[in-house]
Every structure is written in C-alpha cells, then in structure tokens.
Symmetry: C2
Subunit: 335 residues, 2 copies
C-alpha cells in the first residue's frame, strides 16, 4: 500500500470543496483513495478491466449523483446520471453497454416522482443504446437525504484508445460546443431567477459524437468531458496527467449571451462552470479539420498542446490567465 500523505492535521474534516471536482477533490483522490486503493485508475474517467480467461477488456465507470434540484431545465437526476456515466465511458473511447442503478431514497419521496425518474432513466439509456440491467433500492429516514441520491455505474466496450498518456505537444485542442449551460441552468433554478428564456442544461450523450471519431481514432489522443470545475479544470487535469502545457485563446471559447449574463451577475467565470454534454478532444495537428468536422457544426479549435506545464488562456487584449483546477467550491451539488 502506498504511503498516505494526506494532511489530516490541516484538513481534519471533509468540506463541500472536497466534492466540487477541483483541487480539493483531487487531494482526496490522490492522498486518501489512491493511497489505500492501489488498483484504482484515477487519471481518467473510467478504468480498463482485463477480463480473465478472455481475450478482451471492458471499461468500467461509476458516478453518484446528488444534484439539487432533482428536476431542472433540460433534465433531471436520472437522465443526468445515465448521460453522465455513459459520457465517462465515451471519454475512455468505450461504447456504453450495460448500466446499474443504485437508488438512495428519502422517506416521504413521492412514488409517482420515483416512477417519473425511472422512466427518464430508461429513456436516456435507450437513447444511447445501453441497457439498465440491475439495480438496488435503499431508503433513509426523512432529513437524511434529499429526495433521491443516485449511483449509475456502466460497462462499456472499448472501441478506441483515449488516454492522457497519449497526449503530445503540437496537438490541437477542440471543444465540442458552448460552455457553462448546465451550471447556469441549476443556478438560475435554485435562485428562482426569472429569465426571458430559461437556460437549459446541455445534459446530453457524447457517445454519438465519439462514435463518429472512430475512423479517425489513430489521430485522437484523448477525450475529456467538462463536468464539475468546467473547461478550465478539465484542461488542468489533462495538462497535469500528460505532463504537457495547454494554451488556449479565451475568445475562441463559445459562451452564449444568456450564460455570460448569469455568470456576470453571480461573479462566475464560465470557464469554471459545469457542463454535462460538452467535451474537449485532443488530436494530431494534421487531423484537426477532419476531427472538427466529425464532432459537428458547433465544434471549435480553441488552442494547442505545447511542451512545458500548466494551462494558459490568452485574451485578445494581450493578457493571459493561468487556468488552475477549480479551488474551493463554486456551486455545490451541481451533479
């Protein structure tokens, strides 16, 4: 077992920041979970499992969901859970195949709403061609939960390689669409902010886009979806895991007017706001155009991988900003 280097004296208790997906979460993963669990593959969204007595491998990924509110513009905890876990499989280059669901239900939760959530789960699974094959139900007393907490774990069939280890200097950094929708959808719902047109979560399956990349697989280094901590945290993780530098043009990152307004109102940087249907694709320089075309009309090239370390966002005015992982918690319970 690896030595445990977690600074227990400095951080004696778990805080909300440890769940925000940024630097504190990483410390928990690196210094507590990885130290205790040496086989955990912590540098990516899922793990490759070599099947004994078989030629092949499957990919396994898990996520628990504690999003608040349970129903939000553009989705609900069940559709989010299915798309979130399937997206993690897709980011490993794997086609979602089988899913499990673990429901922790608070006493008093309406059974009708539970059925609505189960149907939403089913619809999201059908959409990506995966089956929910097994499940579990636990009930906790009133005030010991928030309606529903949900775990969805997935098995995927690996179709091509996607791993931070493959990232090389010179590669292009492509982004699949505009950022910040999911976080702003949750935030405006929680704050009961009345917008002319509500911001819908971008919550959606990425596998269809990933599947279109399959013929270009040799040129693809790594995929990463932008969830807790947003684009900035995803890039910081990729840079760290691959020991490279990533330089992006801030102006090339699409942000809708509505998201920009909400972020300004709450003092948020859209680059750190959560998404649930967006990804970055790191690919060979020469394959950039083909990869972009396969990703769809909303995809843009936002920067390059360079030798060195860290992530920098350059602005049109000549300024540049170092993008680190999200530090502290920006919006708790976003997924």
């Amino acid at each position: 077992m690896a030595e445990c280097r977690f600074p227990f004296a400095k951080y004696p208790i778990v805080t909300l920041a440890h769940g925000a997906g940024g630097r504190f979460t990483q410390q928990l993963i690196d210094d507590i979970f990885s130290a205790a669990l040496p086989h955990a593959q912590v540098r990516h969204d899922g793990a490759l499992v070599e099947l004994t007595d078989r030629s092949g491998t499957v990919v396994m990924s898990t996520d628990s969901y504690v999003v608040k509110p349970l129903f939000f513009p553009g989705g609900d905890i069940a559709s989010l859970a299915v798309t979130g876990t399937c997206n993690d499989l897709a980011m490993c280059g794997a086609q979602p195949k089988a899913l499990s669901c673990g429901w922790i239900i608070e006493e008093g939760f309406p059974t009708r709403k539970l059925y609505d959530l189960a149907r939403s789960m089913a619809a999201a699974a059908v959409e990506v061609g995966a089956d929910v094959v097994t499940g579990d139900t636990k009930v906790v007393e009133k005030q010991h939960g928030d309606g529903v907490y949900l775990n969805v774990t997935g098995i995927g069939m690996p179709r091509f390689a996607s791993h931070p280890d493959r990232i090389r200097a010179g590669a292009a950094v492509l982004l699949s669409g505009d950022v910040g929708r999911h976080g702003c959808a949750i935030l405006t719902q929680r704050e009961d902010l009345q917008l002319q047109e509500p911001i819908l979560s971008d919550c959606a399956h990425l596998w269809p886009q990933v599947q279109r990349l399959q013929p270009l697989a040799a040129s693809v280094h790594c995929l990463r979806d932008l969830t807790r901590g947003g684009l900035a945290t995803a890039l910081a993780e990729l840079s760290e895991a691959s020991a490279t530098a990533i330089v992006i043009d801030r102006e090339r990152v699409p942000v809708s007017d509505a998201v920009a307004s909400v972020c300004e109102l709450f003092g948020l940087d859209p680059l750190y706001v959560a998404n649930e249907g967006r990804m970055v694709v790191i690919c060979e320089d020469g394959a950039e155009e083909m990869v972009r075309a396969a990703m769809g009309a909303d995809a843009v090239c936002i920067g390059r991988v360079e030798s060195g370390r860290g992530v920098v966002a350059n602005s049109a005015f000549g300024g540049s900003q170092v993008l680190d992982r999200l530090s502290g918690e920006q919006l708790p319970r976003i997924c």
Copy 2:
C-alpha cells in the same frame, strides 16, 4: 414499456418499509423499476451482460450501503459494501473481478475515518482477489447524509450457472451457517446493549465457499445470500421466482444462544434478521452430501423443494408456520 401497476393512490410516498428488502421493496422493484426499465434482471442478485463482439458474458451487480452505525462489531460500511456486492456476484456463480466505489460523504466527516474506510475497502477487496478500479466522490451539506453512503458495483466472471429458474422439486435446501448475526450486531450497537461477549456481524465473503462448489456445478440449482429480510425472505423470493414450494424444519436452522436472546428481547424472529455472510444452496437431492461437505463444517440441510407454492417452516411440536417475505420494516438501515 410495461404498464405501470403501482398503486400510487394507496402508497403515494416512499416509506422505510420500501427499503427493508421485503414485500414493499419488491413492489417498488416490480411495479415501478421493472415497469420503467424493461431490461433490468430483477429476479436475482445480479445481471448477466452479453458482451458485444465477444464470445462471453460478465455478471454485473450493484448495491448502495446506508448502514448505521458506520462502524459495527465485525465490520464497517466499506468492508460490508465490498463483501455485500461480491457476495451478490458469487450468488450468480461469478468470481468477483473488478469493483467501483461511489462515495457520498457528509460535510464535516473526519478525513482520518475516510482513510480508515478506504483501507478497510482495500483489505476486503484483496481478500476476495478483486480490484477496486474506479470511483467517485460527492459531498453533501451537513445533515443531508449520515457520514458516508457508499455504492459498490462489481463485475464478475461467470463460473457456473446459478439461477432461480433452475430450481426443481425434490432439491435439497442447504444453509451455510447460523443466522441473525449481522442484524443483532447492528441492533445491539445501536441500542448500546452491553453483552458479556458482543455479537459480531457475520459479514464475510461467500466466494471461497462458492468456488468449492464449482466441481459440483451441474448439481447446483441456485445460490442466494441472506441479507435484508433474512432467511425467510430469501426462501420466499426463491420459491416465488421458481414457482415451487419450500418446506424447512425450523429446528434445523442454527441460531446462536446470543442471537436467540437478543431476538427474544426485541421480539424479533431470527429467520427474518439480516445476515451478511450466509447463503442457502439449492442442489440436486443426490448431491446433497457432497455439496454440504464443500460448503464447510457449519453447513446444514434445512429442508426440501416441493411442487406447489410458498414456504413453510415445520416445528418439532407439529406446528407449521408460513414464511412470507418480510412485511413492513424490522430494522431500518441494516446495510
């Protein structure tokens, strides 16, 4: 999608009984989850997943754990989660291979205890030869959880067939050891009952015993571990799923003196108290002795499968009791 027949008007909200593993849990599974999720394999402890483009199959099983207290005599939530999920795989005749862990941590939980739990998880995984390969961490605000809720999902390699469909009249019903320890360990801890010698949970891996049954696989119909709802509920499930009757001799079911005393004190029937390291094995009549020997010194034959329906426990005094699924909730948050 199947028609939803859940009686929403009669049961408008989820109650603790829906989480107790008995009749109400079954109603939730049958009428809400199965109705919405047609591919869920709900009659067994896990699901067979046919891998696309491959010759074989894997078994997948999931359980979330909300046991209270988190540390109890003979185990903790993390060792319970690993053994519980691995036992579900074993009951499907599958060798535990890879595990995921999904942690929902309450703000304020001591980081040191979290590390203790992660180490306990690792030790339980090593014991059965499985790897914890991936995980996820979420944090909820104070008073929105109970320290830790934990999901463990497992992938297993199928080694032999075990399914209620295989059960035939004439088969022997074997029990692997004495019953009621886990539930009584939790109960005495919660009630702060001072016993001369504390009752330890039976929380343990069943795979080693199941592996010894492999050479006798052709004679084994079905395995089932005894968790929420105890021996009685497990037998009721098997009887229903296989459309057979099961008749046992109550006197042949081993119950330790300590468990018997605690059950008497609290008015519990040990046949309904939860276990976490016990199973029943339904096997061919002729193979009974060999199967019993393979199961170990504590295994006993407690009865027979007959044609008909339902479960009956005969007592030495000529009385007989119908054993139905647990109804209502006996001990909430047992696992």
